[in-house]
Amino acid sequence: MHHASSSAGGQLRLALFAGLAELAGTRALDIPWAGGSVGDLRQAIAAARPAVAGLLERSAIAVGGRYADDDAIVQAGADVAILPPVSGG
């Protein structure tokens, strides 16, 4: 997590849902974040909470309420949600 321990001191609060929240033990996961891509964020989350790694692989990430590709950039302080495979209906 070298990229997440910068002196910039940025942080992300991630909203987790359903089984992902259960695996992480929290619905709001704070991780240090100096900026990077959604792909970087996936790695940072898996490192911070190894238990979620498998389900995270199958989850979508939304930034500011919009689904984001792995190469999208996430700024510190962004509104980020991790959305596991859906099961409504």
């Binding site: 909203a15 849902f17 359903a18 089984g19 259960e22 959604v38 389900l55 199958r58 989850s59 979508a60 990430i61 939304a62 309420g65 919009r66 689904y67 984001a68 590709d69 792995d70 999208a72 949600a81 959305l83 596991p84 495979p85 859906v86 099961s87 409504g88 209906g89």
Partner: protein
């Protein structure tokens, strides 16, 4: 639940009584919301919490959602359904929180001049809701265990649609390449 009507599509706004509800779903209210003097067909679909799945007893369900994204997605799907099937109106409600066996978890009402469009719209909406709206279901079983349902992505969802859709192009089930999905109209 704010019904989506042909002539009001651009005035839809989220309100306190949005498509996500934490109270019992009232099917009559959904039907009333889509009533129109031009309608010759009014289809109501009510999805209820099923007590047995493959022989295993379920004692209750619990739903949660990404509230703002799910509300927006449901409104967008209603708008798309009105356009796609030339509906007069459509309305959707999905319940959150605990849902007892036999109670409604989701309700869809669609009105159209003729029945085919209304039936097809309800089916199409249900498919889309299950596949792409950020709502999750937790199953509680008779033996006391509970588990959130996060299906493995179906082959259909990974490779695009498998004939469920009508020329929509691939429907991504929430994977990484889904940017812009929320913009489809």
């Amino acid at each position: 639940m704010q019904p989506t009507r042909r002539d009001e599509r651009d005035q839809i706004r989220p309100d306190a009584d949005g498509a996500l509800v934490r109270r019992p779903i009232d099917p009559q209210r959904l039907l009333a919301a889509v009533a129109s003097p031009e309608a010759g067909a009014n289809v109501l679909f009510v999805g209820t919490a099923r007590g047995f799945t493959n022989g295993v007893e379920t004692t209750g369900l619990e739903y949660e959602a990404h509230d703002s994204m799910a509300t927006e997605a449901l409104e967008r799907l209603c708008t798309a359904a009105v356009d796609r099937f030339s509906l007069l109106a459509c309305a959707v409600e999905h319940r959150l929180g605990r849902v007892a066996i036999g109670e409604a978890a989701v309700g869809i009402a669609a009105s159209a001049a003729h029945r085919r469009a209304a039936f097809e719209a309800a089916e199409w909406l249900m498919e889309r809701i299950k596949r792409e709206v950020p709502i999750w279901k937790c199953e509680e079983w008779a033996d006391g265990r509970r588990a959130w349902v996060h299906a493995e992505p179906a082959a259909a969802a990974r490779g695009g649609d498998a004939g469920h859709e009508r020329g929509d192009g691939p429907v991504d089930a929430g994977r990484r390449r889904s940017r812009g999905r929320g913009r489809r109209r």
